[in-house]
Amino acid sequence: MPGTELRGVHYLRGIGDVEAIRADLDGARRLVVVGGGYIGLEVAAVCRTLGLDVTVLEMEARVMSRVTAPAMSEFFEDVHAAAGVNIRTGVRVSAFEGPGRVERVAGAAGEAFPADVVVIGAGIVPHQELAAEAGLACDDGILVDECARTEDPDIFAAGDCTRHPCAVADGRPVRLESVQNAIDQAKAAAAAMCGRAAPYVEVPWFWSDQYDLKLQIAGLSQGHDACVLRGAPESRSFAAFYLKGGRVIAVDAVNRPAEYLVGRKLVAARAEVPPERLADTAIPIKEIGAPFL
C-alpha cells in the first residue's frame, strides 16, 4: 500500500503503536481509521470522545462483517453515526498521500479523505511462514488439533495464527483472533506437552468496549437461521440470540452481562430454547438458563 511510510500513518499491533498514536493525536483534528472491525471501531469511539473528526473506511458492506450478524452491524453503525463518526462502507483504500506527513487517504473509486492521522486496523494475516518452511500443513493458519498439536506431535501452535477444530462451529476448523482463544489454546498446548492432554473445547467468547457500550459475544453466529432480540436496541441494553435448528449457537449482548453469561452456557449446551421465551424480558434470563447452568 503506497504511503504507509508517511508520518502520521500508524498500524495498531502493539503497545508501542498505541503510544505513538497517542502522541500523534495531540493537536490533530481529523482521524481516518482504515478498517471497520473491532479495532477500528474502538479507536473511532475513543478518538471521537476526545473530540476529533473521525472517518472510518470499511471495505465490506457493513462493519464487523466477519464477526457479527447484520443486525448488530447496523446497531453499531447507528451508534457511531449518532456520535458523529463518519462511517463509509464499501470503500477500498488504495493509497495514503501527502508529502512527508499524511494529508489524505485515497479510495480505489477516486474518493479522497483528508487526514491528519491515520490508524490502520484492517485485520491480520497469520504468521505461518516458519511452520510452512518446516513443512507443516497450513491453510490460512497453522493446522492444529484440539490439543494445539500440528501434524508433528512434537510441534505445537497456539493463538491467532492457528486453524483448529471448534466444537461449536459445526465441524469446520476455524481461525479465531481473540484473547480467549490465545489463552485457552496455550493452556491446551502446555497440558499436552506435559503429558496431561486436555482437549480445548471452550466456547469462543469475545468483548469490545465502544463508548458506554460493552459488547460481549459467545459462540459463532455464522450459519444461523434465526436471530431473536431480547430487549430493545434503542435502549442500548439488549441481546441478540442466534439459533440454528432451534438450538442457541451464539449470543451478542450489549450492556447485558447476564444475558452474555447465560448465553455462553446455552451455547455450550447447544440448548433448545423457544424463541418467544428468549425474547420475553418478563422472564429473568437466569430462569431461562437454569436448566443449563
Partner: protein
Amino acid sequence: MAKITYIDQQGTERTIDVEAGMTVMEGAVKNSIPGIDADCGGACACATCHVYVDPEWMEKVGPAEEMEVSMLDFAEDVRENSRLSCQITVTDELDGLRVTTPRSQH
C-alpha cells in the same frame, strides 16, 4: 504504594507491594500470585479474577458497580464479600488489604 496480602484456600499468605493506580488483579498477575486468572485482562468481561475481601476491609474497598455486580452474579461460590479484583484500584488507603482467592475461577 500499598502492601496487599493474597491468601489461598490452603491458608498460605503472600504479601506484595502494589503501586497505587494498579488494580488488585494486576498486582497478583504481575507478581505471579496464583489463584487469579484474569482471562480478559481487566475489562470486567470474564469474572475470573474473583476474590473475597476481608470483612474489615469491605468498607474501605467500597461496593461494586452495576456491570461488576452482574458479572459476579455468575461466578463460582459468590459470597457477601466477593469482588472482581480487576475493579479494585489500589490506593495508599488500602495499605494492608487482605483478600482470599477462591477454590476455582472457572
